[in-house]
Symmetry: C2
Subunit: 336 residues, 2 copies
DNA sequence: TTTATTTACTTAACCGATTAAGTAATAATC
DNA sequence: GATTATTACTTAATCGGTTAAGTAAATAAA
């Protein structure tokens, strides 16, 4: 079954392809009668224009790329939802690329995107990313918007949440609930969100006269088993913390499991607050106090800015960075 | 900064575009010396071929579409992970489309995909889908593979899990744990997975002499508030169930919250088993017994079959359906 | 030495659309 | 009635590649 092309329509109607094309685009150069004939035939043959033909000519693809570390993560999947919602509304298509936190994969993906395959890129960088040449090169060709895990070195729109304040708030909350020894679970320190959250944590300790505390920053990996071992080690240590701020949501499971295993009670023995968007927070055992990021809104705003940049002629993405605040949702895991 | 095209390379090297193209594809028609010159210049100018140009000529895009109801759902995000992993490995790109359980959106998406934008479609149908013309039309043009929420009416590869058995197993498990009044939470009954799970449930009741039980099948919506109200109603009813099989994972939160609200204890007053891939199941309050689907593997297999179909000449997708079994993971929510 | 073959290219057509520029026929204006 | 404008098209170029067919020069075979 051959594809229905403009050429086929043209032949059947004894018109030129140009006339058909113009009729389909409702050009004033075509008579109403002819337009109707074209439209009718197109409908009856179920004509769908080939996107790549137009893209090639117009030098735009009506497609954006979304580059994410991971999709099986509440934050990113909600953000992707927000992005996709706006994309559909604007008639764009979203290509998704997962880096799986691999720098090499991220490089390869961005390299491919230099081809003109997409009109813009919305991105959250991988944990392992600490050089930025690949990003800079791509940004010279097409608009980029970062969200959450932004790249400070690149001058463009960055949608973040108030990571510093949240690090501070979470820590202060634990202090208010009586914690004396607060540990911070973090990932890569090349990630700006990590370092912001960490700075907030440190400042909160400082402001509460805890500056001389032993360092309680635990660097987590992206491997479950390793992280579990890390938690077991932390919780078995002589000087076990009585409060945990987890800046990375997937540590929740490991914290809870390790506590169960070691019969450490949350919140009596240890209080826990996690940066998390998991819907299950309220029904955990015990319900988890979270810093909940506006994932969907961040995705939506990132996409909205991207499409503005793509559609308006003069629109400077670098003037458009925004910070959408997260919320501390207090639940049982930090006591009452 | 103009894009580097084959034409630009050709001009700089005093060659025809044909020669450059052939050199880049390592054709035997080009001398080793020339090939090297082309390759060197391409590398130094950072040439990346434009994908749509080739796609147009070759009539293939090296892109597949993944059509999903939702991505903020553990099952689908894990499946998407599996699909994307295979796609990257095969050098393909994945366009993602979310139907948000809307039939109209699904129709519009599939209609667009008739354009030749993608070489194949991997799909899980929406809850609301009960006519299939749009799917049939697309399938006549390009290969399709279904996973999880398959479309029985279409003759192609379908990757499912053993839904009937799981419905049976979950129900039997509750019966074994002493439940007398088991409710089934379901969604659309036009969905084959729903009806399979429901049949398993009914057969288990039948096999245990419970055929004359009052109907305890609750049709859930995709709206949180509605579902919560539904659960409250169910749990406040005179003849409250003492066991729940939730065939839809997002009901977990509503079940737990409604039980908390009504001070109904799981598993003492009511036992709960959910079809779910949420990582949080073991740390819920209480830990949730689940039927866990092989989401990642299903996605991976669906993609593997798709790429086989795209790459081999004779490969009948309709012969390739597979069933990957799910696992009952017994935890505290069904007692001990 | 003549013909055939191989090598290393070039020319030109094509994929499916869009659009600038050209054109013939009709209508409007002077 | 001659000139201009408008209408409703067509022709041809273009986007950036790929490839079938053509070609000139060098090499091999007869």
């Amino acid at each position: 079954m051959a594809n229905v092309t403009i050429k086929i329509l043209a032949e059947q109607l004894n018109l030129s392809t140009a006339a058909v094309s113009k009729a389909l685009r409702d050009s004033h150069e075509i008579s109403p009668l002819t337009k109707q004939r074209v439209l009718d035939l197109a409908a009856s043959l179920n004509y769908v224009p080939h996107p790549y033909a137009g893209s090639l000519r117009e030098r735009k693809s009506k497609t954006i790329a979304v580059v994410l570390p991971e999709v099986a993560d509440s934050f990113f999947s909600l953000a992707l939802n927000g992005i996709e919602e706006v994309a559909i509304e604007k008639g764009y298509h979203a290509l998704i690329y997962l880096t799986h936190e691999s720098f090499e994969r991220e490089q390869a993906i961005l390299k491919d995107l230099e081809s003109g395959r997409v009109d813009g890129v919305i991105m959250s960088v991988s944990m392992k990313t600490n050089t930025f040449e690949h990003i800079k090169r791509l940004q010279q060709r097409i608009p980029m918007v970062f969200f959450d895990r932004v790249c400070e070195e690149i001058d463009t729109a960055k949608i973040t949440t108030n990571d510093y304040e949240c690090g501070y708030t979470a820590t202060q909350h634990l202090i208010d609930r009586g914690c004396k020894k607060i540990a911070l679970l973090s990932v890569s320190d090349s990630l700006s969100i990590s370092s912001q959250r960490m700075k907030g944590y440190q400042q909160a300790l400082l402001d509460n006269g805890r500056a001389d505390d032993a360092p309680r920053i635990v660097a987590c990996s992206d491997d479950e088993a390793t992280n579990y071992a890390l938690m077991m080690e932390l919780l078995r240590s002589e000087d076990r913390p009585d409060g945990i701020v987890a800046t990375v949501s997937k540590m929740t499971t490991e914290i809870y499991l390790a506590c169960m295993e070691l019969k450490i009670n949350i919140p009596e023995d240890i209080k826990v607050v996690c940066f998390s968007n998991d819907a299950s927070a309220p029904i955990l055992n015990p319900a988890l106090t979270t810093i909940t990021q506006p994932a969907f809104e961040m995705g939506k705003l990132a996409a909205t800015l991207m499409f503005k940049a793509l559609q308006k002629k003069y629109f400077l993405l670098s003037d458009q960075s925004a910070v959408i605040p997260s919320e501390l949702r207090i639940r049982s895991s930090t006591g009452h």
